[in-house]
Structure formats: C-alpha cells, structure tokens
Amino acid sequence: MIKHLHKPAPITKKYFTPGVILISLIALNGLVFLLGRFIFGIGAVTNLNDQYPWGIWIGLDVGAGGALAAGGFTTAALGHIMHRDKYETIIRPALLTAMLGYTFVAVGVFTDIGRWYNIWHPLIMWNGNSALFEVGICVMFYLTVLYIEFLPIVTERFMGKVNLPGILSRLNKPIDRLLHTLDRGLDRTMFIFIIAGVVLSCLHQSSLGTLMVVSGPKMHPLWQTPVLPLLFLLSAIAVGFPMVIMESLTASHSFGLKPEKEVLTSLSKFVAPLLSIYLLGKISDMFIRKTFVYLYEFNTISILFGIEVIIGVIIPLRMFLSKAVRESTTGLYIASMLVIFGVLMNRFNNFVTAYNPPYALEPYVPSIGEISVTLGFVAIEILLYRLFVKIFPVISLPVEKVNFKTKYAIRRNSK
C-alpha cells in the first residue's frame, strides 16, 4: 500500500487577500440584514407571506446547505467505514465543511423560524409524525456528532501546546490533561460516532425530502412524489464527492498548493455511478407517475426543471464518465461545480419553484434581504473555513517524514 507523503497541518498563508475582503463585505452586508430581521421581524426583511411561508432561507440555507454538506458523511463512509485509506487526506476538509455547513443549517433555521428563542423545543416536545421534527432532531444530533468528530483535530492541535498567558497559565496543566483524556476517550469510541454520523445523515437527508410531501397538490407534480426522500438522499450522496473535489481544488488554488489530483481523480470515479443512480431514480419516478406531460408546457417551471436535470445532472454525468475530464483539474472543477449547481437547483426547485399555492395573492420572489442573508452566511462559512484551516491541521501538506497515523478509525492492534 502506498503511503501518502502528506500530513494535515495548519496553513501558514496570510488570511486577508482582496478576495477575502470582498467576501467579508458580502458577509457584513448579510449581517446587516440579519440584524434587521431580528429587530423588525421576518416580514421586514423577507418577501415571505401567508401563502409562501418558506423561501430561500429554507430552500437554500437549510435544504441545499444540508445537501452540500453531505461530503462529510460520504467521505467518512468511504474513508473510515470502508477503510479506503488513500482518501484520508480529504476527510478532514470534508469534515470541516460538513461541520460548518451544518452549523449554518442550524443558524439558517434559527434565523428563519419566527420564535427563534424556542428552537430547543423539539428536544422535549416530540411529534413523531412530523418530518420536520425528524429533520430537526437528526440535525441536532448530527451537529453534535460532527463537533465530536472534529474534537480530535482540536486535541491534536493543542495537546502539549497549551500555553495560556498570565494567571490563566495555572490552568495549562489541567487543560492539557483534559485534552489527553479526551483524545484517549475519543480514540476508542470514535467509530460509534462515525457510524452514527452516517446513519443520522441518511435519515435527515431523506427526511428533508419528506418535508415537502405533506404540502400535497400545492407542490408541482414534477417534483411532488412519494419517493422525494429517496431522491433527496441519492442526490445528497451524489453531491458529496463533487463538493469535496470542488473544495479541495478551490483551497489548493487559494493557498497556492499543488492540487491533490491523484486522490481527487480516483474519488471522481465514484461520482458517475452515484449520479446515474440518482438520475435513474428521478427519471423512472417521472415515467412511473407520467409527469413528463408537464414538460410539454413550456413555462418557467418546466425550464427550471430542464436546467436542473440537464445542466445539473446529465451533463456532469457525461463529464465524469470521461477519463479525460476526470484527469484534468479544470474538467473536474467544472463537472463538480455542475453537480453542485444541479443539487442546489434541485433544492431551490423543490422548496421554492415547485411550491405553488393555488390561492396566492402575489407570487414569491426572494427579497434583497433574503438574498443578502443567504449570501452572507455562505461568505461567513468561507471565512470561517479559511480561519479554521489556518488554526487547525485540516488540509494535508506534503511532509518529508512518513509518520502517518490514522485518526479516529478503528485502530489496528499493531505497533
């Protein structure tokens, strides 16, 4: 087995670049509108109304956000559960994205719900019939699991390096001991959380799909189907690896590192089969329910459906099938972006485009406030990612000495 000459380490490049400053401005703009939402209410910032209760905050921040963070559990399943060790290097970035992604799913929910101070209610007030309840509970648990999964990275970074200034220096020793205990404990039990993470992901990714089923005929038949949960799960699994590829390429470009092309190319081999399963599911559902008749009606809805399926699934599927594309950085990047766009579009269509209450007084178009907040959250996520990779050993850098230790996998007896 080939050992990689890579080891995760904090990035040392400087934080602010012109691009980062631009992203910071977008983040700031989002925060301004976010403040407006909490001071003046949802109505003041959004175009939501009694007929359109959910907009892009649920469709993109929660729906798409959750799907695009799926890289975390798919790579965990591949790297840890199936023990494909060569993907070790991408697990940590994927985990960080998932952690940040889900944190912002939670933040998105917190922003969107009217009575945000009651967000903890689902923990003690249960309604087993509600798909949203399941999403809520699973996301809460999964978020906890993600934080636990990330903890070893924290302990690794600070073990033996705790050096608090001033009076706090007295705490250095106990903290260090705590970190050691944590590390040991997590080492032993981590596989529980890894499996739990995958299970929880499968559950809530599908339940996100169940969410809209209850809206019945208010949802356009092109999307409304009882197999929505399956389609959501399949698409989330399919978008996991492209998301990891896209991030890895973006990060290496941004930090001036050499792209981990070999790993990404071999990872990209999984994409085409996963995408085709998703496409098969979607197309066969369409034919079983005979919803293709709605495609003959040439309108916004059918166009958006076409964009979602053709640009977002079929074209990238063809690209991932081609060896040339898989071995080219640009090809990989574009193909991955298309898959991401496809899933983003799918979530947007499911939650926004497809939702057409017959007695709406006016159509829903996302407001500047909603768009600002959504973009703002994405920007903050990017900024936090950059910050985290500077602080914690997330991205693998080439090292000379081969001393690679598999973290939080089931340990071997050897050594």
């Binding site: 007030m125 529980i192 340990r411």
Partner: protein
C-alpha cells in the same frame, strides 16, 4: 491506545442493546405527539353559500371574539373589498369573498380554517403545538410554537397565517372554531351573528344529513356536492353551493387524509427504529469487515 476486535464487538453489542431498548419503548415514542382525537360527536358548521348575503358580519364578530382590530361597524357594508379575492390572515381569521355564479349571478363564500378530521398541520407541527380536539376544533398552543411555519406549508387550504412583522412573539394565527366560546356553551361568533343562518352549527354527522336533505329537497338550487364531506378525509366545515366549489373557491383535493403519504413515509423510515438500527448494524459490519481486510493487507 488501540482497540482490539473484542472491544469493538463489545461496544457494538452495547449499542445494539441500547438501541434495542430504545426501539422497545418506541410504541410510546412514536405516539408521542399532539392530541388528535376524532370523536364521533365532533362538531361542525354547514355553510350554505346559496343563502349567504355577503354582509361580512361574521368577519366583524370574529375579530371581536379574538381581540383583533375591528374596522368601523359600517365599513363592513362596503362591497368594494369584493373586488379582490382575499385570504384569511392574522387580523381576519375569516374572510368573505365574492365569486361568479351561473345560477345566482354572484355568490359570496366565507373562508376560514376547515378544521380537518385528519389535519395536516397537526401532523406536520414539529413540536406538536397543534391539536385536534374532541369537539372537532383544530387549535394550537402558542407557548410551544417555534414559528417554523411548517403548518402553513402543510395546510391544503392555505389557512394558517403568521405575524411576520413582529420581531418578538410572532404568533401563528387561524380560526380556532371559537374554542373558548364553545367550551362555555356559546356558539362560534360567526355562527351566532349570521343574519341569514348561512352557517349552521351542529354535530358533523347531523349536518351531513341536513345537507343531503337540502340537496334532495331543492335539487334546483344546489350543486349536488357537499364540499368537505370527503376532502382530505373530511373537514368539520361543510359547504353547500349552487356550483362546484373545487377549483375556483377551494382546491381540488383527493379523499385521502392530507398528511397520509408523509406520515406513512415517516413511519416507514422509523418503523420501531428498525431501519436506522439496521443501517447502523450494517455499517458497523462493513466497518468491521473492511478493518479486517485492511489489517491483512497491511500484514502483506
């Protein structure tokens, strides 16, 4: 700190036992949820649209009964509001709209929560704040509500509304079938004030008999259909009209309960926690097996 295979099996077994224990208590957990009673004696209202004169006194009385902002009493006689179709909102729990009618020229029809027998909102509510009560009303507990608006997404009749412009304590609002009034033996405010008794309050089953009688005795006056008798599994509010209401006034809905599909998916995925536990076990198995393979590979 390495973990050997026995440890692994032990831990896996522990998880298996604990999840098994969880699944043992699931019957209760799965039922953990809101009150959802379908009483044989549930009440309802029969709305006879052929009688309604569009005086909008129901709107006035409803606002009075629910501490909403009332307009000038005589403002309700202003027919200009009929120019636009309105929807129930946070201040108008019920609205009267005017629709064209072949037989009568025009027809005014009151809209409000239908109080479904199998309410989608009750099924959907994340915290079980909504409930179907024994007297047929679908009400909610604002203290539980988190304002997620999933009930609004779920409602097939587009009824619940949210106070979008309140930063603190925005409430979900809809017709509550005058739960407080009926508890004290009063009629719902709209039923009480209706000058022509276009609204008849009574036991739902009696109202159905009455509605059928009216259709039979005056077949020339009524469209032979009771809207709400079967829609989404039946609603407490039933409508008689001279024309087909499904389409222009109310959505065309099937006879299956609105939350049916969603609930069966939900219960299918969580049938006594078997699917999640099975998935967990499967993944555990795969992890264990591939670990073995890894080790053997390593030894080579």
């Amino acid at each position: 700190m390495a973990q050997n295979r026995r440890d692994f099996l032990k831990t896996l077994a522990t998880i298996g036992v604990s999840t098994g224990a969880i699944s043992a208590v699931t019957p209760q957990v799965a039922k953990a949820g809101p009150t959802n009673i379908l009483s044989d004696n549930r009440m309802g209202v029969l709305v006879d649209a052929t009688v309604c004169i569009g005086c909008r006194k129901c709107e006035w009385a409803c606002q009075g009964a629910h501490d909403k902002v009332q307009q000038d009493f005589i403002e309700y006689e202003n027919n200009d509001v009929f120019k636009k179709a309105r929807r129930p909102d946070t201040n108008n729990l019920t609205v009267v709209n005017k629709y064209d009618s072949e037989l009568l020229g025009s027809e005014t029809i009151k809209l409000q929560c239908m109080h479904c027998d199998h309410p989608a909102c009750v099924s959907a509510c994340i915290v079980g704040a909504l409930s179907k009560e024994e007297n047929g009303s679908v009400i909610w507990d604002t203290d539980k509500c988190i304002g997620c608006r999933y009930c609004m997404v779920a409602c097939p009749f587009q009824v619940p509304a949210l106070e979008y412009y309140k930063a603190l304590d925005p409430k979900i609002v809809k017709c509550d079938f005058c739960f407080e009034r009926t508890k004290e033996g009063n009629l719902p405010a709209c039923v009480e004030i209706c000058p022509v008794e276009a609204l008849t309050y009574g036991k739902r089953e009696d109202l159905l008999i009455e509605a059928k009688k009216r259709i039979k005795n005056h077949s020339e006056k009524y469209f032979n259909y009771i809207y709400g008798e079967h829609e989404v599994g039946g609603t407490a509010w039933l409508y008689l009209s001279d024309k087909e209401l499904a389409g222009e006034v109310f959505p065309k809905l099937g006879n299956d309960p609105a939350p049916g599909v969603s609930e069966s998916i939900q219960h299918g995925l969580f049938a006594y926690f078997v699917p999640p536990v099975a998935l967990y076990a499967l993944l555990g198995g795969i992890m264990w097996l591939s670990k073995d393979k890894d080790k053997s590979e390593e030894k080579l």
